[in-house]
Every structure is written in structure tokens, then in C-alpha cells.
């Protein structure tokens, strides 16, 4: 009998896993369980094109409803899983239904990290993770509205750019002394700080929020640790994400800031896979494990799991990569800045077209490219191949990215 596959989580990872299983020839049943009321959709545009009204709900949807019918994928939406019974090989839903599996794929994603401050429950205070969250924020972004964004990471900066485009007044509060502190080098942080500043975004760096003040149940100001009170109409909190690993943990699967998986996306249990933002995954290129929050990583793992289940050829290992759109800037990042001992800047940051290479000797560990697709693509290939480069040539924009390897 063909294997029954159950996928818990109907986001980008889970929805793609169902598609790859069918593409790779899986003939058994597939059940896709999601706790949101929506079919799988793309989250990245929620802070960008969708927020600015440049993409519709239909555009966000990964595949049309007919796809799931045609491919015999049974979808259960607005349903959450209460427990995984590994001995009986079934998952139990909140409504009591038990769904048996031959292979289980966990794709439960991550949730917004809560801000530990009184007042976060007030009306007008938002997190951004789901289409529902984005809807709430969008309704408040009108000209003149004062928005305070807590957290100067990608979510915060992307919403800042979209909110400015919609005419709102924006202040970003970041606890660290620079923006994008967790994810980008200083050169890039400084560039984004200036670029947003020139477009009217105000910044408070090195400031922590101790409370959000309310009036009649609605937020009206943010209080900082040094006592400053910043009046506002709305607040967006974007201070990172936490993996939804509790269910896996309760089922006895090893977790460490993410469910631990191998290069086939398999957990310790040979019948249970985990993919996407909820996992801690191996990264052979850098000889370590990491939890990545990115669509490309989720897709790679969806392929790994589907390939392992069907006996299909496994996908080639990828260099991690990320992207962000803000104003007219296209930021593309490849690799991760582990064990870096130097920086090479190629191009002129004041021209908004440059790339920062994070180096370890003559090897590129990561590239952060602003409006520089050749630097991103070329850098990504050189990182993946572990190919040494000439530092002099790399620093010279007149030398093609195809000529910088040695």
C-alpha cells in the first residue's frame, strides 16, 4: 500500500512539500493541515508589495484551490494539531479527530517573538506574521498616521519603507546600536540607516521599550528605558521569531532553537520530517547547524523530505540566500558571515549600487548586494564552490565578477 503522508503546517514549506511529493511521483494520500483559514500563500510580500497594495490576495496564493483537488491533496484549514502520537503513528487535531500517517512532515513555521513589555495587548499594537496580521496593519497605514516600529530588522525596515510610501510617519526603535545587527555587516547597516533617514524615517538606536501606553484601550505612546515618551497612533513589533517546536518537543523529538533535522530533513524519528523556519538544519558549507528563516531554505528542505520519501534524486545542496525590497532598493544576500576576518566593499554605497563581501582570507563567506545582481549571483557561485578570489579584483567594479576567481 502506498504511504500516507501527513503535512502539519500549510505555509510555503508545507504547501511546497505537497507539490514536490506529487512531482516526484508519490502516489499515496497527502493530507495538508493548516491552522490559518487560507490555502498556502507567500509571506514575504506581506511587508512589501502586498502592504503597499501592489499585490492582491490572489497574487499571494501559492497555487489555486483547483491545484489541491487535481493533485489529490486533502486540505484541512483552520485546524490545529494537538499532539503527535509516535507509537500509534497518528496526529490528533483539536477537534478530536485522529489522522494516521506513514510519514509525517512538520512544517509549522515560526511565530513572532513577543515583546516583554506591558501594553502589547492594546489595540493598534501589531505583530506581522500572517495575512491576518498584515490586514490589521494595512488598515492603519494612512497619510499622517504616526507608526512606531519596534525592531530594526528586515520586517521592521520593510514595513517602514512601505509605510512611508503610504504617507505614514515612521519611527524605528532598535535595541542594538545599529540596524540589522543580527543579520548584516556594519557597512550595510549604515547604508540602510542613511537611506531610510533621507526618506523621512526617524530612528532611536540603542533604545529599549519598557511599556506601551494606552488610552481607552488603544495605544497612544511608547515609553523607552531612558524615560522618553514617544506619542504614536500604531505600533508594529518586529523583534524576531521563535520556532513552533513545542509539539515536536512534547513528542520527544530533539530540539535546540528548532527541531533538529539531518540533510534529508529527517528528525530523529525516521518517519517524521521537519522543514522550514521551525528547524535547526545542517549547513555543510559552513560545517555547522543553524535555524534559517527563509523561503529558499524552506523550499530546499521541502525537496529534501519529498525526495527522501519518494526515493527521488535529492536536491543539490544550496548556498543560503535571502532578499529584501525597500523603496527602489533590491537587497540580495548570499551566504552567512561566519568566521569573517575582513570586508571588501565593491562599488560606491552613496550610489545605492554596491556590494559588501564578508571575507575569510581569500574566500567569500557572504555577499550583501544592493541593486547589484551580478555581485549577488557571482558571489553566490563562488561561495558555493569555495573558490578563492583575488581581493584586488573583487574590490574593483571594473573587473567582471566572472574574472575575480583565482
Amino acid at each position: 500500500m502506498a504511504t500516507r503522508v501527513v503535512i502539519v503546517g500549510a505555509g510555503h514549506a508545507g504547501g511546497s512539500a505537497a507539490a514536490f511529493l506529487r512531482q516526484y511521483g508519490h502516489e499515496g494520500s497527502i493530507t495538508l493541515i493548516g491552522d490559518e483559514p487560507h490555502l498556502p500563500y507567500q509571506r514575504p510580500p506581506l511587508s512589501k508589495a502586498w502592504l503597499k497594495g501592489e499585490a492582491t490576495e490572489d497574487d499571494l496564493q501559492l497555487r489555486p484551490a483547483s491545484f489541491y483537488e487535481e493533485q489529490s491533496v486533502a486540505v484541512r484549514l483552520s485546524a490545529s494539531v494537538q499532539s503527535i502520537d509516535r507509537a500509534a503513528r497518528q496526529v490528533r487535531l483539536n477537534d478530536g479527530a485522529a489522522i494516521p500517517y506513514g510519514k509525517l512532515i512538520l512544517a509549522m513555521g515560526a511565530r513572532a517573538r513577543p515583546l516583554p513589555a506591558p501594553g502589547v495587548e492594546l489595540q493598534g499594537v501589531h505583530y506581522l506574521r500572517t495575512a491576518g496580521d498584515a490586514e490589521g496593519i494595512k488598515s492603519e497605514l494612512v497619510p499622517g498616521r504616526r507608526l512606531i516600529i519596534v525592531g530594526g530588522g528586515y520586517v521592521g525596515l520593510e514595513v517602514a519603507a512601505s509605510a512611508r510610501a503610504l504617507g505614514a510617519e515612521v519611527t524605528v526603535i532598535e535595541r542594538e546600536p545599529r540596524l540589522l545587527a543580527r543579520v548584516a555587516g556594519e557597512a550595510l547597516s549604515g547604508f540602510f540607516h542613511r537611506y531610510h533617514g533621507e526618506r523621512g524615517v526617524r530612528f532611536v538606536l540603542g533604545g529599549s521599550v519598557t511599556a506601551i501606553d494606552g488610552q481607552d484601550g488603544r495605544c497612544c505612546a511608547v515609553i523607552l528605558d531612558h524615560g522618553e515618551r514617544l506619542p504614536c497612533d500604531s505600533v508594529l513589533i518586529g523583534v524576531g521569531a521563535l520556532p513552533n517546536q513545542e509539539l515536536a518537543q512534547a513528542a520527544g523529538l530533539p530540539c535546540q532553537d528548532g527541531v533538529i533535522v539531518n540533510e534529508q530533513a529527517r528528525t530523529e524519528d525516521p518517519d517524521i520530517y521537519a522543514i522550514g523556519d521551525m528547524t535547526r538544519r545542517p549547513l555543510p558549507l559552513y560545517g555547522r547547524t543553524i535555524r534559517l528563516e527563509s523561503v529558499p531554505s524552506a523550499l530546499e528542505q521541502a525537496k529534501q523530505a519529498a525526495a527522501d520519501i519518494t526515493g527521488h534524486k535529492p536536491p543539490a545542496p544550496e548556498t543560503p540566500w535571502f532578499w529584501s525590497d525597500q523603496y527602489d532598493l533590491k537587497l540580495q544576500i548570499a551566504g552567512l558571515p561566519f568566521d569573517v576576518d575582513g570586508l571588501i566593499v565593491r562599488g560606491d554605497p552613496s550610489s545605492a549600487r554596491f556590494a559588501v563581501f564578508q571575507m575569510q582570507g581569500d574566500l567569500i563567506q557572504a555577499v550583501e548586494a544592493v541593486n547589484s545582481p551580478a555581485e549577488f549571483m557571482g558571489g553566490r557561485l563562488l561561495i558555493g564552490a569555495r573558490r578563492p578570489v583575488s581581493r584586488e579584483k573583487l574590490a574593483d567594479p571594473a573587473v567582471s565578477m566572472k574574472e575575480v576567481g583565482v
Binding site: A19, R22, Q23, Q42, P44, P45, L62, R63, P64, F67, E70, Q71, V295, P296, L299, P315, A316, E318, W321, W323, D325, K330, Q332, P373, A374, M377, G378, R380, L381, M401, K402
Partner: protein, 106 residues
């Protein structure tokens, strides 16, 4: 609406109807045509939706922007008729379009 035929590297053909306004990439994803990955969802950020446009259709599909050119420059097995399918918008004029897919997008 345009009928678009996607031909996999192994020769399998997928003829599907794609509505105007979508991209050629979206037409493939929404119809589960294998061989187009489109990791970035159409942001011209990844070059994993590489296709070869049938010679007869090259003019009607237009030419690549500078951004797309730079991305394509580093994709695998690029030919003069290579395009990123997320950058080709579907219109009635593309009814009958034929695109071929590379062996691998990575």
C-alpha cells in the same frame, strides 16, 4: 488568456491556460509544472525560473531588463533565448507560447 506549452528537459509537455497579467513563471507554479522553482516568488531575485523561449516567440516576449540580464549572466547553461519567466507577463498576444525548461535551476 493564453495557452502556454512548457516542455520539460526530458521532453514532457504541459499545455496549460494562463490568465492575462500573471507571469509565465506563475503559470507554471499554479499548474504544478515541474522544472521551474521560482524560489523568490517573482521578485527577480533568484534566477530559478530560467526558461528558453521558442525562437518563433522571442520577439513577442520582448527583451530582458538590465537587472534580468545580470541575473541570467550567472545562471547555468544560458542561451541567447534564455529568459527569467517571472519577467514575462502573459497577454493575449502570447497565446500559443512555447518555452523549454533547463535540466536544473540551481
Amino acid at each position: 488568456m493564453a495557452k502556454i506549452t512548457y516542455i520539460e528537459h526530458g521532453g514532457t509537455e504541459h499545455a496549460v491556460d494562463v490568465r492575462n497579467g500573471l507571469s509565465v513563471m506563475e503559470g507554471a507554479i499554479k499548474n504544478n509544472v515541474p522544472g521551474i522553482d521560482a524560489d523568490c516568488g517573482g521578485a527577480c531575485a533568484c534566477a530559478t525560473c530560467h526558461v528558453y523561449v521558442d525562437e518563433a516567440w522571442r520577439e513577442k516576449t520582448g527583451s530582458a531588463s538590465a537587472m534580468e540580464e545580470s541575473m541570467l549572466d550567472f545562471a547555468q547553461n544560458v542561451e541567447p533565448n534564455s529568459r527569467l519567466s517571472c519577467q514575462i507577463r502573459v497577454t493575449d498576444a502570447l497565446d500559443g507560447l512555447i518555452v523549454r525548461l533547463p535540466e536544473d535551476q540551481h
